[in-house]
């Protein structure tokens, strides 16, 4: 069966109406005449970037530097920037919130436009983004919205929306979780992860290990249980290190591999898993990660935006690029990788806009997963593009890992992050 685009939009509209996540395009079309333009026509070309989070600010700066007469507009609903890689350290009180947050004002000083608004829809025919406050036309569009947590896919969670404290929710849930951890005096913590791809693969394993370390250091009567549908922790190369750290913490930490979460409830403070029923005081279920509904409605791919992994250009629309967690690439969904691929995507967009530069390279990734509050492991991967016999681009990867946790890797992690924040927000 093949769906044409109109049918697809209809279906997508029905889906969106069911989850109540986004109005349909049809509904938008009827009110579009009443929405004003958010900003006037620029002199040069305009690049609109959806999302102003980790990584994509580097694309904006790269394009502005290489093609200065391009107007670069960043749209995001967040009031300020929060550095995601420091999430875990913030949750357990290792860094304060103000060291990992930045205001967006300094971006204006560097020639970028930041508009705080909620994105509602994308009209590819009119080359226009519809926001809550108005519409923005684009010549080129970069989609870096990140992923949405599909809570509706976890049975029982829609009936208990406040039961879950997910570490991947940006903004206020993160602050709530931080305060819940600080006030934790004992009890059961249950963590579960989805079967499909999700952002920051080692994150949940670091989270449970930090919980175990936190409970032991504070001498609390707590217990952490992790339910994992996978046979062992990911990334696979770091599995021995994670398993060793879990073994060392087995007095407070229980790891159930090959086990899925079946539902939240039906009793209060209980979850059903394939390893039986578990009681919880703090529940951190990471639901399946999906792309934003308005991107699915625009026909850019489901569950993730389909792109050419070399140029980050959408396979459906040559004026659209996508990168980061919502792009369907073979690269890791991590902050380091988002940053390196953001710079490469920036070079590709600048080339299209007329910059005379050489062929951009391929992204790389370094990640320092924490195994306790004072040490971390290390994994690094570099990718390269190779043409196979049939002329198709194949992505090859090679890398190194260190499964021995060391304090120096934690310092390296902080140094990398602070350096990047400086690069993005220095005026």
């Amino acid at each position: 069966m093949s769906l044409n685009r109109r049918d697809f939009l209809k279906l997508a509209g029905v889906g969106a109406a069911l989850v109540g996540a986004s109005p349909t395009r049809a509904a938008l079309a009827s009110v579009q005449h009443s929405i004003p333009e958010l900003m006037g026509k620029p002199k040069g070309k305009r690049l609109v970037i959806l999302g102003a989070s980790f990584g994509v600010i580097n694309t904006a700066l790269t394009v502005k530097r290489l093609v200065p007469d391009t107007q670069v507009v960043l749209l995001d609903k967040a009031p300020f920037f929060i550095s995601c890689p420091a999430t875990l350290e913030y949750l357990f009180g290792m860094v304060s919130l103000d060291t990992i947050t930045r205001g967006y004002t300094s971006l204006h000083e560097r020639g970028l436009e930041f508009v705080r608004t909620t994105i509602l829809a994308l009209d590819r025919d009119k080359k226009m983004v519809v926001c809550a406050d108005g519409t923005v036309d684009y010549d080129y569009l970069l989609v870096a919205t990140g992923v949405r947590m599909a809570y509706e896919d976890v049975p029982g969670l829609t009936e208990r929306p406040r039961a879950n404290l997910c570490l991947y929710d940006k903004g206020s849930p993160l602050i709530d979780l931080h305060h819940r951890i600080a006030a934790f005096q004992g009890g059961d913590v249950v963590v579960s992860i989805p079967n499909g791809p999700y952002k920051c693969p080692p994150g949940p394993y670091e989270y449970v290990l930090l919980w175990a370390d936190y409970i032991k250091k504070k001498r609390l009567k707590g217990k952490v249980t992790m339910v994992d549908p996978r046979p062992k922790p990911i990334p696979p190369a770091l599995a021995p290190g994670f398993l060793k750290a879990m073994e060392a913490n087995k007095d407070v930490l229980t790891y159930h591999p090959h086990t899925r979460l079946l539902r939240v409830g039906p009793e209060d403070r209980m979850v059903e898993t394939e390893a039986g029923k578990l009681r919880y005081d703090i529940l951190s279920v990471i639901p399946p990660n999906k792309t934003m509904p308005f991107l699915v409605e625009a026909g850019l791919g489901d569950p993730f935006t389909e792109v050419n992994p070399q140029t980050f250009r959408s396979t459906k629309d040559e004026r659209i690029y996508a990168l980061g967690d919502n792009a369907d690439t073979p690269f890791t969904k991590s902050a380091f990788c988002a940053t390196t691929s953001a710079k490469i995507a920036g070079q590709h967009i600048a080339k299209v806009l007329g910059a005379k530069i050489g062929e951009p390279g391929a992204p790389s990734n370094i990640c320092w997963p924490l195994v306790s509050m004072d040490s971390a492991m290390m994994i690094s991967v570099t990718w390269s593009y190779e043409k196979d016999k049939e002329g198709n681009i194949q992505v090859k990867s090679e890398g190194t890992t260190d499964n021995e946790a060391k304090p120096s890797y934690l310092h390296a992690r902080r140094g990398w992050e602070m350096g990047l924040l400086q690069e993005m927000f220095s005026s």
Partner: protein, 272 residues
Amino acid sequence: MLALILGLNMLGGLTPSSRADESEFRSARWIELKKGLFGDRAIQEGPGGLIQLEVPLRPDNAATVPIAVKPAVSQSPDRYVKNLFIVIENNPVPLAGAFHLTPDSGLAELGTNIRVQTHGPVRAIAEMNNGELFMSSKFVKASGGCAIPPPVTATASANLGQMLIRTQGATILNQPNWVQLIITHPNHTGMQYDLFKGFLILAHFIEKITVSYGDNTILTAETGISISEDPNFRFYFIPRAASVLRAEVTDSKGLTFSTSEVTTKLATEVPR
């Protein structure tokens, strides 16, 4: 028949695979595989088909790609899924496993983890008791699953063949009950490098699985190297009386492992 197919495709794996058409999932390789497995018999497929295959488009680890086959109807003595085949088209050994079910399976649902070597379709084919064939296919973008070196863990060989078989809570008579079987086994493909010694690790994989409840066999399967390390299987069965669950597994070196018998606990009353 299975040995023949496995052997045939071992040879087939040496020739470069033809590129599958992503939209239609038709390829010369599939036509050849289909002929070997089912001859000229017609296979019904499509969105309204009898079975549905669930597999992520871009899994996060090519060596453990979660798949689930979900049937639209439950097993009845007149009409039931007799055999389930999982075919990963561009793998060196495309047939990941052949699973044999009975009407007492209750639901012909099956979940496991597979290895995916290159981009290509993954197919689930159900053979009914009357010989009808139904197929569900999904394209999977993953590579290197058969060749990813196994993580170095000292305990791996010590635990070889340890098994866990479990049900979800208490067993309910005369209803489909969920079972999970987890086997600790490296399931070496023969394509993985030992990173320290610098040579290929010989293939060593689970070949045959038999799960029984009391005297009744509830599932038998022949599997190959395309099943992930530490194979795990999720399926259903209908218990008719209180009894014991038992699994027996044979691997390619002829080693036989079995679970200690697990006495199922009957639910005192049937939940709503």
